[in-house]
């Protein structure tokens, strides 16, 4: 399957990559397709111009199998099943990728997965050092899930988070203000800035922070007769009771504009009006940059929660385009996912064709990242037909996790799980993206290679019993295992390796199947998004 090398590529190779090592012209099976990058939408157009300017050759478009697995993991945090994989790979419709994206955006797992992602940002946790309490966590997650499932316009989503009032057990979004380690106006202002502007206000000059904090100086948190219930509401005298000082009458927006706080209006609403305006320089930018970060592992401004003048965007024109699309679509988040996932850029293979170190910064190939802790354990459970026990030591009421619940649906960082801890689940203490760490450590490697936890699933998991007992047709068994674990068919080369190492006879033993499953589940291809 040699690929004819287009003239453009040759020219590019001759002119700009002359100083770099040679690039493999052939597609690498089974990861690359034999398709060169070509512009499909505005994102591609803008980035292609950057690549040209930088002398970067983009990767090839990824194979269908890679795309399938990637878009499942990226959009719904879930591995395709064997039959889903087979169906997609055998589909001859040239628009099947586009169709799959739409299908995934409407799956319930879309809301599950993005509830988890947003839960990280919003620091949803029952206890320590964020103390929401289990009932409040449930209310908050319910609101978040339904908002995402209904694709609530993003401006309305944020307005509800910023301006809601009521019981923490009943009105989910009021917990936004409770999910912080210091509930004073300045602490809240910092949380608002990091969450919705991507800005670290702890670096601001004091007056600037105090000016913004004034908008949050009239929030009251009142306990009720019910244990741990709190009513969050607007109370013009909330701050003054504690400090014995009159509440500030003047507030300053982060862009420097000063206003007098009206006496008859909740200042949270005044701030929300300013924030969610299409003209706000941070609001839409932060949203689209976060989505980009979630899909590519790197923000156009990076880190996505460190937006400041001296941390410039690598391709500001791409951000501006996505911002304008977000506003134009009526703050439709799924529209942004659709634009990005349908771009040729998103569909590039992970095998770089450029030696230019800038290639990764300009998204000229898809970056490999280890699966998130929750996604990884869910995938292992899905393949092996097993489940995990999750529980929480936060009492009253006990957090009961139903048998078979998926980790992406847990919704509370206080829920105990040695696996999730080991694999870098974020503690949700401050809500920064850096709280989640997906770096592979030796302890993690030990766990996957050789722990009783992993091995028992592989050796005894009911989901694989068919394979461990189907001795007769090795080719069919191997094919099904590849589809189940790696979401693709084995290549001829792999089949040759397997014939040599495991199956000199025409029958597969139970032990051979276990070892093959073990090897595939320990492969880089399984453990990483690619």
């Amino acid at each position: 399957m040699r690929n004819p090398v287009p003239i453009g590529f040759l020219l590019a190779a001759l002119t700009v990559t002359a100083t770099f090592a040679a690039i493999p012209p052939e597609p690498v099976e089974p990861f690359d397709s034999n398709q060169e990058f070509s512009v499909r939408n505005r994102i591609d157009e803008l980035l292609a111009a950057r690549w040209k300017e930088q002398g970067i050759t983009p990767a090839l478009i990824c194979s269908d199998a890679v795309f399938l697995r990637r878009v499942y993991l990226d959009l719904i945090g879930t591995l395709p099943t064997e039959s889903e994989a087979r169906k997609f790979l055998e589909d001859r419709d040239p628009r099947k990728r586009e169709r799959l994206i739409d299908e995934l955006l409407n799956r319930p797992e879309y809301a599950d997965y993005w509830t988890m992602r947003w839960g990280d940002v919003l620091r949803i946790k029952a206890e320590f050092p964020i103390n929401l309490w289990p009932n409040a966590v449930q209310a908050y997650n319910r609101w978040l899930y339904s908002s995402l499932a209904r694709n609530k316009p993003y401006d309305q989503f944020v307005r509800e988070l910023l301006t809601s009032s009521g019981s923490n057990f009943r009105v989910g979004p009021v917990n936004f203000y409770r999910a912080t380690q210091d509930r004073n106006p300045k602490g809240i202002a910092q949380v608002v800035a990091i969450t919705f502007m991507g800005v670290r206000a702890d670096q601001w000059p004091r007056e600037k922070l105090e000016g913004m904090a004034a908008f949050f100086s009239q929030i009251s948190f009142k306990p009720t007769m019910e244990w741990k219930e709190e009513i969050v509401s607007w109370d013009p005298y909330a701050g003054s009771a504690a400090t014995q000082q009159a509440p500030p009458r003047e507030a300053v927006f982060p862009d420097g504009v000063k206003i007098q706080l009206p006496a008859d209006r909740d200042p949270r609403q005044v701030f929300a009006d300013w924030l969610i305006s299409p003209k706000n320089p941070w609001f839409a930018k932060n949203a689209v940059n976060r989505i980009w970060y979630w899909l590519f592992g790197r923000g156009i401004i990076h880190e996505p929660d460190d937006i400041r003048d001296d941390n410039p965007a690598v391709a500001p024109e791409v951000l501006s385009y996505l911002e304008s699309e977000l506003v134009r679509s009526g703050w439709d988040l799924k529209h942004i996912y659709r634009l990005i996932c349908n771009s040729a850029t998103y569909q590039l293979s992970c095998i770089s064709r450029s030696q230019n170190p800038q290639a990764s910064i300009y998204f000229a190939y898809y970056p490999m990242r280890r699966l998130d802790a929750e996604v990884l354990i869910d995938a292992i459970c899905q393949i092996t037909g097993t489940s995990e026990e999750y529980w929480s030591m936060v009492p009253e009421p006990y957090t009961i996790i139903p048998q078979g619940e998926r980790a992406i649906r847990l919704g509370d960082a206080s829920i105990t799980s040695a696996f999730l801890e080991l694999f870098g689940r974020p503690p949700r203490d401050v809500g920064l993206v850096s709280e989640r760490t997906n770096r592979m450590t030796a302890s993690q490697r030990l766990h996957l290679l050789n722990s009783s936890h992993t091995l028992r699933k592989i050796e005894e998991g009911p989901g694989l019993e068919w394979a461990r007992t189907s001795y007769a047709n090795p080719r069919q068994t191997v094919t099904r295992l590849y589809l189940t674990i790696l979401s693709r068919y084995p290549t001829e080369k792999e089949w040759e390796i397997l014939k040599q190492t495991t199956a000199k006879s025409s029958r597969l033993s139970r032990e051979m199947v276990v070892d093959l499953v073990w090897a595939l589940m320990n492969s880089t291809e399984f453990l990483y998004r690619h």
Partner: protein, 464 residues
Amino acid sequence: MSDVANTHVVLNAEGPQLSTQLSRRAALKRGIFGALALYLGRSGVLPRHAWAFDPTLPATKPAKAKAVIQIWMWGGPPHLDTFDPKPEAGSDYCGPFTSPIATNVSGIRINELLTELAKIADKYSLIRSMTHGVNAHETASYLVQTGRMPGDRIVYPAVGAVVAYFKGQPPEYEGLIPPYIVLTEPQGRFSEAGFLGPRFKPFATGGDPARTPFTVEGIVTPGVTVARQKSRRELLQNLDLLRQVMGDDPQIQEIKQAEEQAYDLILGTSGKAFDPSEEPQEVREKYGTTTFGQSCLVARRLVERGVRYITINYKGWDTHKENFVVMRRKLPEFDRGLASLIQDLADRGLLDSTIVWCCGEFGRTPKIAWEAPWNGGRHHYGPAFSALVAGGGFKGGHVVGATDRTGSEVKDRPVHPTDLIASMYELLGIDPGTTIRHPQGYMVRLIPEPENGATSGGLLREIM
């Protein structure tokens, strides 16, 4: 200067590219977690700060202590029934334990069931004036092990993570054992590496060292033979196509390195460090054939192999109900395990360089709850509790501080968690006043300054 500190300097002076030129062995010697960071700078994918080295990391000072064994009496042991007996306070306070025993140091008395520890009181000191006033498990556990109160937006690392960060693995040891190990279960949120991140999280063994084999999770797998481990590894290497084509990618370098270290523990000799069955039977029996006793023995083996910090999470001290029934069962095994550990370290010449510290997150209420449902229980008590320290530069045979007649209040020389932690850092050659870089860029002091609201009684100079 420690090996880890060397790494930092090198990386910052020459840039992370240099790391690829280091030999595998050299990289591996940095310790199981340390080496993984070598490639961070080359990855465009990861958050900028996530694994950033700290260019200002100071060299550690010459140190008396090289290693630490922390015995964490999880749940909070009753100070009155262990190291601070109060027989004169009456049975509502001392319950059935009315006759504490003398130790080999005159004037020091401890609970009557601690007969082995009574024979070696010259080797450890007791702090009877530990105090912080917090009665909640999580907050107190965090406070005692980090020296900080939660709530200022920073999650601080526990002592073990700080020691792993500064000391790594000693360069003279060839094996690849993680520098920070927990026997057997992790405390979860309690023993967090805090902002230092997962690289400095402890390796928790799982399993039970009192059983044979001690199935250290991930390292010892009874059902899988060595031959099968090897053939599996070969199969994996043959089938891992992505790894073959992406050889240069930093993520691939990272997983390869992690895997080599993992296999060194699975198939190499390093994993033997965890195996108490290599010890003579009489030694095993001396420590007690209980989970706790054998954990103490494994801890000693790990110290011998250069592990810097071992926490034994010793459960079962949260005795709201029937405290005295539990104590009669628990104190003898505690006594036997801890006394054997201290004596054995001393016999092997390791006590001078190994700190042993032993306490829980708080004490327990001095006044006994006789009524149902407690039936002689004791509840959480943060205002006063005890700690035992030995070795690594701590003097033996002393008592620091005192509580009042009933063990309810510290009446002399209050010792706050920060004081004990700072004293250990001092003995380890880590300046307690030093700062480390938080991932968000700012510098954080290891031990808070008194002017920032931290209560302190000062370093434990009297026993150092």
